[in-house]
């Protein structure tokens, strides 16, 4: 589960996004790695592009030190571009994404979209 602290769906460029995530109903020992990222993706007619603004991978000792009974909090200042955009051929969407890699090869992914900037349409 991912929760954006403050529950605001829109952030201004340069503002700091704070979010927390937790995992439930999973054997904590089976978690091999956790990846957390703040990224933008393009959608639409063109091939999808991905831009990663923030990336954190936890594995090995750093993963073992985590207490999963409490939510993991992350704060990250957002860039000034690209802002969220909804055009005719392409759309730029921002999201917080967390991936859990389990020992049996299973991959769990959760993401929470948000808007960067006030822009939601072409021009």
């Amino acid at each position: 589960m991912i929760r954006l602290i403050g529950l605001q769906p829109t952030y201004m460029p340069g503002q700091t996004i704070e979010f927390e995530y937790r995992v439930a109903n999973i054997d904590r020992g089976s978690i091999v790695a956790v990846e957390c990222s703040v990224c933008w993706v393009t959608e639409g007619k063109g091939t999808e592009d991905l831009g990663v603004h923030f990336f954190q991978r936890l594995a090995g000792d750093s993963l073992a030190a985590i207490d999963w009974s409490i939510a993991q909090k992350i704060a990250c200042p957002l860039p000034i571009s690209p802002v969220s955009y909804e055009g005719k051929l392409l759309k730029i969407s921002w999201c917080v994404r967390v991936r859990f890699f389990l020992g049996d090869g299973t991959e769990l992914m959760a993401q929470q979209p948000f808007y960067l900037g006030m822009l939601t349409r072409e021009v």
Binding site: M12, P13, G14, E35, S37, C39, W40, T42, G44, K45, G46, T47, E48, D49, L50, G51, V52, H53, F54, F55, Q56, R57, L58, A59, G60, D61, S62, L63, I74, A75, C76, P77, P79, I80, S81, P82, V83, Y85, G87, K88, L89, L90, I92, R97, R99, E107, G117, M118, L119, E122, V123
Partner: protein, 336 residues
């Protein structure tokens, strides 16, 4: 991740691994036979040796790049691969809250320096032009020259044979369509060249770059040449561009999402030494999207000059500009 996806990925990785091994194996055999054992010498050290070695090494490079690309696609997430691509190394586990610094002050926006490296005569910068006809003209010129040179060689061969009293009919029959293509391509090239010379060049100078939405900028358009202009119009345009795979083709689609006329001029005569000068000012809309560039998608802003002239076909010339994000975002850029 279905079974077919797994088998497909495994198959691709195995294929590239085998290609790599073949490349390395053949390179090793070639080098060891050739350089270490003089008695065998399968190829003399010359063009043949280097060609064969080049092919072997290209197999090895193709194999290793393809193999690791497939493997990384399977074992890493999309975000992880993107980070590896940016940093060039596999990132270590990080504990801080800001493990990855911003790579550039203005991410995903084209570098403004390539638009500001040419100073203007009256205003700050002269914008680089983007005239697709020029590329076509150069390509056509190269084709016409190469084709004509090839045909000329065959004509000399045919003439030589004729002088020795043996007419090479097969060559003559091949030369007839060849000469026709040479004449047509040369004619097309010179017509395009005369059109480019006659209409003359267009220059655009701008007060400042990058453009910030909501601010006003002065612009000067100068049209050179020797012609009678029926109408010339200057527009500010925003265009979305998307590149995608369609079967085995790579296609690019463009759509204009904003177009605003910022100046126009009616009938006028232009002569050598007396160009037409148009001065105007314009403003990018306050809520406009900034310029954007990623691998397959882009948002371009540009100044477009459209002209109609007597006895010449209509023309359109583009001058790309860079638009930064507005208001508070721009203050952040200046501060950085």
């Amino acid at each position: 991740m279905s079974g077919w996806w797994f088998i497909g990925s495994l198959g691709e990785a195995l294929f590239f691994a085998i290609v790599f091994l073949i490349g390395v194996f053949l390179s090793a055999i070639l080098i060891s036979w050739q350089l270490m054992s003089q008695s065998t010498q399968p190829l003399k050290v010359g063009y043949g040796f280097w060609l064969f070695l080049g092919v072997c090494l290209s197999f090895a490079v193709l194999g290793i790049v393809g193999f690791w690309y497939r493997v990384l696609k399977v074992v890493t997430s999309d975000e992880h691969r993107e980070v590896i691509g940016k940093r060039g190394i596999i990132p270590e586990p990080l504990s801080g809250s800001h493990p990855m610094k911003k790579p550039t002050p203005v991410p995903s926006i084209p570098d403004v320096r390539r638009f500001t490296d040419s100073p203007g005569a009256r205003l700050a910068y002269r914008l680089p032009s983007q005239i697709p006809e020029n590329g076509a003209l150069v390509a056509l010129g190269i084709f016409a020259m190469a084709w004509s040179a090839m045909i000329a060689v065959f004509v000399v061969m045919a003439a030589d044979a004729y002088l020795r009293s043996s007419v090479p009919w097969q060559l003559v029959f091949l030369l007839i369509p060849g000469i026709y293509v040479a004449i047509r391509s040369a004619r097309l090239f010179f017509r395009s060249f005369i059109r480019t010379l006659g209409i003359g060049s267009t220059t655009v100078e701008i007060e400042d770059l990058p453009l910030i939405p909501g601010r006003e900028y002065r612009l000067e358009v100068v049209q050179y040449g020797r012609l009678v202009i029926k109408k010339i119009a200057v527009r500010l345009e925003c265009q979305e561009e998307s590149t995608y795979h369609f079967g085995t083709d790579l296609r690019t689609e463009r759509q204009t999402v904003f177009s605003q006329e910022i100046a126009s001029h009616g009938r006028d005569r232009i002569d050598w030494g007396y160009p037409l000068r148009l001065e105007c000012s314009f403003c990018v809309p306050e809520d406009a999207m900034h310029s954007f560039q990623s691998k397959h998608n882009a948002i371009h802003w540009k100044i477009v000059v459209d002209g109609e002239a007597n006895r010449w076909p209509s023309y359109s010339r583009s001058f790309p500009v860079v638009v930064y994000p507005s208001s508070r975002s721009s203050q952040a850029i200046v501060a950085s």
